[in-house]
Symmetry: C2
Subunit: 375 residues, 2 copies
């Protein structure tokens, strides 16, 4: 019973709150949601001038739980969020919402469809990055936040940053997109598609209709294993595992996993099935694939209406899923519109997941940027 698992996890986060929108929400596809809710967390206090709010967007498998704080569960960005961290909870009012389509308290394929009282499954409509961002804007309005010091996010979170700033530039002083792209590349789509195929292939998936029985954990595990390879660099894989054998001094000459990297991937994949919903994985990877903010392939006009927004664009040298070249395309288009842009490629060998690790350079560059935004 996968949904009981999410309830169990969410109950461990005392800061979790819900924003409920009880009217029809129109989606980019033309379809609608009769209503929705977003799970969200806030940390720190909005100051008297309401000028210290920061909105953080999470990536594919993230949640609103950006910071551990008083919960038992670690936050996904504890390296960057908290007292005396760049996103300093003593100084800023930090907001992070679980995205539409996800499984951590926001409305998604594992939610009840109010029209028939059954779990949506594949009846949940396809959503886009823009739908996700629009829903979060409603939360921001609901919180009475009228100005954002910055919006930030990595990977799919960076796509939300870009979509946000295009649509809500007037209330957004600055933006920090990291390890992302202005469109899902052919490569991104290809890797997402094989991950979806891994889920479809699991007979327990049953066309998305599995909430009363066994979840398609084999398929989701394989999807995550494939994904995980793309999150790491070849360098860090070699450094962490090399060709080391697991639990056996010599080759076993059999098909069970024997190299450490095999065990590691299986561990990562298995752990993931205990914290994520396979259908959410399908919907969110699809939202990534659809993302393309260029206009007829050109990114320059996308930003032409922006004026005073300040940007810090960050790439990681060893990221091959969202390589530096993709971030440079964003920088080029912003600069072509005479916008105030800083660009940093952080030299780190961890691959795409570099934004999640302990990284002094990342902390410094973000801290410096934040202290120099004029409110």
């Amino acid at each position: 019973m996968i949904n009981e698992l999410f309830e169990y996890i969410l109950n461990k986060i005392p800061e979790l709150k819900y924003f409920k929108y009880d009217k029809i929400f129109k989606l980019e596809s033309g379809k609608t949601l009769p209503k929705f809710q977003l799970a969200y967390e806030t940390y720190g206090q909005l100051n008297s001038t309401k000028s210290n709010a920061i909105l953080i967007f999470h990536a594919l498998s993230g949640s609103s739980h950006v910071f551990k704080d008083n919960s038992e569960i670690g936050g996904w960005w504890d390296e960057m969020v908290g007292p005396n961290k760049p996103f300093d909870t003593n100084e800023y009012f930090i907001i992070c919402a679980n995205i539409l389509g996800s499984c951590y308290g926001s409305t998604g394929p594992n939610s009840l469809n109010p029209l028939n009282g059954k779990i949506y499954g594949l009846d949940f409509p396809i959503i886009t990055i823009h739908d996700i961002v629009k829903a979060i804007k409603m939360l921001i309005d609901h919180l009475g936040v009228q100005k954002l010091l910055t919006v930030t996010g990595s990977s799919m979170g960076g796509m939300q940053v870009l979509d946000w700033v295009i649509n809500f530039s007037g209330i957004t002083l600055s933006a920090i997109p990291m390890a992302t792209a202005a469109y899902a590349t052919t490569f991104n789509i290809a890797f997402n598609e094989v991950q979806r195929q891994a889920i479809y292939s699991d007979s327990f998936w049953n066309n998305g209709n599995y909430y009363s029985g066994f979840a398609p954990n084999k398929g989701l595990r394989l999807a995550r294993e494939i994904g995980h390879i793309t999150y790491l660099s070849e360098d860090i894989m070699r450094e962490k595992f090399g060709r080391s054998l697991q639990n056996n001094p010599k080759l076993l000459f059999q098909f069970t996993e024997e190299f450490e990297v095999e065990s590691y991937l299986q561990y990562k994949g298995t752990t993931f099935t205990k914290r994520f919903d396979a259908n959410s994985y399908l919907y969110i990877t699809k939202a990534i694939d659809y993302f393309d903010i260029r206009q007829n392939g050109n990114l320059i006009p996308t930003f032409s209406h922006l004026e005073n927004n300040k940007f810090l664009v960050i790439s990681f040298s060893s990221d091959w899923l969202y390589p530096t070249s993709k971030l440079k395309e964003i920088v080029f288009a912003l600069k072509s519109n005479s916008l105030d842009v800083s660009f940093v490629e952080i030299d780190v060998n961890y691959g795409h997941d570099s934004f999640l690790i302990d990284c002094k350079d990342l902390r410094e560059v973000v801290s410096n940027f934040l202290t120099n935004i004029e409110v």
Copy 2:
């Protein structure tokens, strides 16, 4: 009935011959094969001085059918083998054998186990690159070939080249390893493991026991789709497919494949299930994973006994599965032993599969090398 399919394919190749070894063949694992056969093809004529023989090793999914010649079926290396091609069948005596463990006529998991008259399935012993090479050496002896002008192969074929030259340097004038490595990297193992998991996940796989029923085509298809992504560069993917949609002018907002790259991968995967055996895929990827000719991590002593062998090492600039850095490690170790080595990185954007495409630079560099080998 997957084996009937292979019979059908093999019957279309008039040049196909079989080498049968009817004694016990000892494997690196310590296990044995009671006997084996290799399917092979030869093109051109061995000259009177027996000095024009060239041995070609195929990659993961290849066969002995390196050259189309009079068959209805295209050869896998028609770009490089044939009259007036670098491996000129008018000039050289070309030999190519299907490897042990494969499904194109050589003994593998889809063969009958002579000990019980049943198809091996997973009772087939795990084989290594060295086992594969040792079996081909017996074929070469059987053919009466005592000198090889060159041995060549790409990818897993290049691993065989390296293993061959280490073990049989005395009868080998030169070697041309391409797009390969002296050991499977952590990255290679990781990608091979998720491909194997895709096969294991298919319920039709049935622990390798499917030869009397339906083959695990869903699993094999997904494995090949994942593999195929690793064979192409991001550049060529973008160039070929970009974000183009298939059969529909707009986004469909549904889960069926809609981007061209998705349809292409599915087509490639599906086609593959009509020409390859899932168990062979498992055994051969495992042989790749085991490959490591370094001695305690050092490649220099591996080649220390070589003396007069000449090398042409070739990498392809856009190959990220067997990147140039891996070929340079081989070059460095050969050079450290004062061997005669030429190294060329061919600037081509096709990725790992570059060795299979029409490539003038590759043809020229190989032709020049061959004409300069002193017999």
